[in-house]
């Protein structure tokens, strides 16, 4: 119908997927190496964005709009999650004056 955008012609889809995978893994590394609940949470947001990138790129290459709507939902959900998550983090902070996840280990064994 319309002309294929330059980027789709020049850059293979794999590169987008790779980028998305890299970002995702950086997010994972962040979750694994940081102990600040907020930063962990941000890393998770990063992972979600990697997913978004993947979906959008595939969607654009396939010219299928469903995935983009999906991304829309992911963003919405992420926002909701962040709202709740931050509320929880604040609550934790209120009670312990700390948001280091390693600090919290009353529950074990």
């Amino acid at each position: 119908m319309t002309e294929i955008p330059e980027i789709i012609r020049l850059v293979p889809l794999q590169h987008f997927m790779l980028l998305s995978a890299i970002l995702f893994c950086i997010g994972v590394v962040g979750v694994l190496t940081r102990r600040n609940a907020l930063i962990i949470f941000m890393s998770i947001e990063l992972m979600l964005n990697a997913v978004n990138l993947m979906l959008i790129s595939v969607s654009s290459y396939h010219s299928d709009s469903a995935a983009q709507v999906f991304v829309f939902f992911i963003m919405a959900v992420a926002a909701a999650e962040v709202a709740v998550g931050l509320a929880i983090i604040v609550m934790v902070y209120r009670n312990t004056r700390n948001i280091d996840v390693d600090f919290l280990n009353n529950l074990k064994w």
């Binding site: 979750v31 694994l32 102990r35 390693d102 919290l104 280990n105 009353n106 529950l107 074990k108 064994w109």
Partner: protein
């Protein structure tokens, strides 16, 4: 009334006596209890006589009485049936006859015992079991009686159950009998497997028709003989019998001298067909019998307990009977069973009378000079002693001599040894007699004061038995003296296996008789010189003895050897199992398995350290493993 019912009544009457006296014990008065007990046995004696008369009169040799099927499965059918033949009849007469006398005797002997009714009930039960034993038409019914008499023996040995030593003796008797019983039972199994039946008639006719091979026969007969060893107190299972003297004296007389212990002989005679087909076993039986005879006699030489002497004498005499069986002289063996029943019962009852008079004292070292105080006892005891010593013309002479003659035919060496045993018999019996009835009284003053002749109920049986002991030889009066050997003829239909017994020429027979008679008299002389002329009294236990005499006095330490070799190891094994192996080894493995599971769980639990970082890391690790595993392989 039909034969079936009457024959069934023979064991049933004593059994009823047992039930009545047993359940009514302490509620039934003593005289009533005695009446019930004695009449039950006398009635069954009467029935036996009637049966004997009826069968010999009508010329019927065997009669089978089927009562009911006992154990039946798809391929096993064992009926509860009786077989009455000549062998059975003879045993019936002896058992009920001697039994009745002893019942009567007990009425006097046990009169002051608080367990009077119980005693009669057990005695009746014994009679019933013994009658079952001899009346059964198959091996298993015999086995019922076999075990039944064992039970009664247990109950009666431990009759005075407050005494732990008596109880132990009772237990020992039962357990040793059971060892033999196991052999018997296995023998029955093998018979069943071989002949597909355990009915005497079927088994014997099949065995005669087509022998299943000597190996099997030897196995069967050896197993059966193991049973006989236990029941009849042969080497090596004889040690219970002397201990069994713990029971009241009538019991010793009836069970441990006259009847029960001869059950082994009955069994071998009953199965003579099988035994004849297994020469090896017969040889073995002969040797065992000879060894027992010598061993028993030698121990008897130095015993001081009046009943112990008699007990070892019984062991020894049983050895002779087996010796006879071993050489294939079944009739002679039975002959000796019968005469032995008379004179040994008499001896025991006499001893009982002495003990009764001595207020319970059993050690001959503290007796002496009783002949004037207890004349009847003395005279009857004397008759019995002469009979057992094998001095003519009393019954023991004939029966023992027949055995010796048969042994001589079989093997002169064995004969020589047997004669030695017989000399010892003569010696210890006269030693016993002299120490007890002659000389001066060595007991306490109190005992002397109390000393008395026993009541009529006790002396009457003594008298009857004395007559029998004296005249019992007539029943198989040897041809040598012009006798007709009635017993041999009477038993002939039963003894399918005795065809081969050889006969000695008369001069040899005379010689053998002479040797044994002279020997017996000589032994008596030795005993006389020792205990009457020199007035020796056996030393008290405290005195040091020579090695040999110590060995003999302590019964060759056989009990101690058994104790260290068998009883102790087994009981320590038992302790080891129940206290160590079971709790720590077997259960230990179980506990370990459980504990290990829990332990692994506890280690896993430490993974859950509450550390979110670690949780996430493990998750990622899990993901990595799953991905690697699935995508690479």
């Amino acid at each position: 009334m039909s034969v079936k019912i009457l024959a069934s009544l023979i064991p049933l009457l004593p059994f009823l006596g047992f039930i009545i006296n047993g359940l009514g014990f302490r509620t039934i008065g003593k005289s009533l209890a005695a009446t019930i007990g004695v009449s039950a046995s006398v009635l069954s004696f009467g029935l036996s006589v009637w049966l004997f008369a009826a069968m010999t009169g009508s010329g019927v040799t065997t009669q089978e009485i089927h009562l009911f099927n006992w154990i039946t499965t798809e391929n096993t059918n064992i009926s509860f049936s009786f077989l009455i033949d000549h062998l059975t009849l003879l045993f019936l007469l002896v058992v009920t006859g001697v039994g009745s006398l002893i019942h009567l005797y007990s009425a006097g002997y046990m009169h002051d015992d608080e367990g009077f009714g119980k005693f009669f009930s057990f005695l009746n039960l014994f009679l019933a079991a013994m009658l079952l034993l001899v009346m059964g038409n198959n091996f298993l019914v015999m086995f019922i009686g076999w075990e039944g008499v064992g039970l009664c023996s247990y109950l009666l040995i431990g009759f005075w159950n407050k005494n732990t030593a008596y109880n132990n003796a009772a237990r020992k008797a039962f357990v040793m009998n059971r060892i033999g019983d196991l052999g018997f039972l296995l023998g029955i199994f093998l018979i069943y497997i071989t002949f597909h039946s355990i009915d005497y008639n079927t088994v014997f006719s099949q065995a005669l028709a087509g022998s299943p091979g000597e190996g099997v026969m030897v196995a069967i007969t050896l197993l059966l003989f193991v049973g006989a060893i236990g029941k009849s107190a042969q080497v090596p299972l004889y040690t219970w019998l002397p201990d069994a003297m713990a029971g009241p004296t009538p019991v010793s007389a009836l069970i441990h001298a006259a009847t029960m212990v001869t059950a082994g002989i009955y069994m071998v005679i009953r199965a003579n067909v099988l035994f004849s087909l297994a020469p090896f076993t017969l040889e073995f039986i002969g040797i065992v019998g000879l060894v027992t005879a010598l061993l028993g006699a030698s121990i008897g030489l130095l015993q001081n307990d009046i009943k112990k002497v008699l007990a070892y004498s019984t062991v020894s005499q049983l050895g002779y009977m087996f010796l006879a069986l071993g050489v294939g002289a079944f009739t002679s063996s039975y002959f000796h069973v019968m005469t032995h029943a008379f004179f040994k019962a008499l001896l025991f009852l006499g001893a009982g009378s002495v003990i009764h008079g001595m207020s319970g004292e059993q050690d001959i070292r503290f007796m002496g000079g009783l002949k004037s105080k207890m004349p009847i006892t003395f005279i009857t005891f004397l008759i019995a002693t002469i009979a057992i010593a094998g001095i003519p013309p009393f019954s023991g002479f004939f029966s023992k001599d027949e055995i010796l003659a048969q042994v001589f035919v079989h093997s002169p060496v064995m004969w020589g040894l047997a004669v030695v045993g017989s000399l010892m018999t003569s010696f210890y019996m006269f030693r016993l007699l002299f120490l007890t009835f002659f000389g001066t009284f060595r007991g306490t003053h109190q005992q002397a004061h109390h000393l008395h002749e026993s009541p009529l109920s006790m002396t009457l049986p003594l008298l009857v038995l004395a007559v029998l002991s004296a005249a019992g030889g007539l029943i198989n009066f040897p041809q040598l003296f012009g006798g007709g050997q009635w017993l041999a003829h009477f038993l002939a239909p039963v003894l399918g296996g005795e065809a081969h017994v050889a006969h000695l020429d008369h001069s040899t027979e005379w010689m053998l008789m002479g040797i044994s008679t002279v020997g017996a008299l000589a032994s008596m002389g030795v005993a006389y010189s020792l205990y009457i002329s020199k007035k020796q009294v056996p030393a008290s236990d405290a005195v040091e003895k020579g090695m040999l005499s110590r060995l003999v006095y302590n019964k060759y330490y056989v009990d101690e050897i058994y104790d260290t070799l068998i009883v102790k190891p087994l009981s320590s094994l038992g302790s080891l199992i129940s206290e160590f192996i079971d709790t720590y080894l077997v259960d230990g493995i179980v506990q370990l398995a459980g504990g290990l599971t829990i332990w692994v769980g506890r280690q896993m639990r430490y993974l859950q350290a509450g550390n979110t970082g670690f949780y996430v890391f493990s998750m990622v690790l899990g993901i990595l493993i799953i991905l690697t595993f699935n995508l690479l392989f």
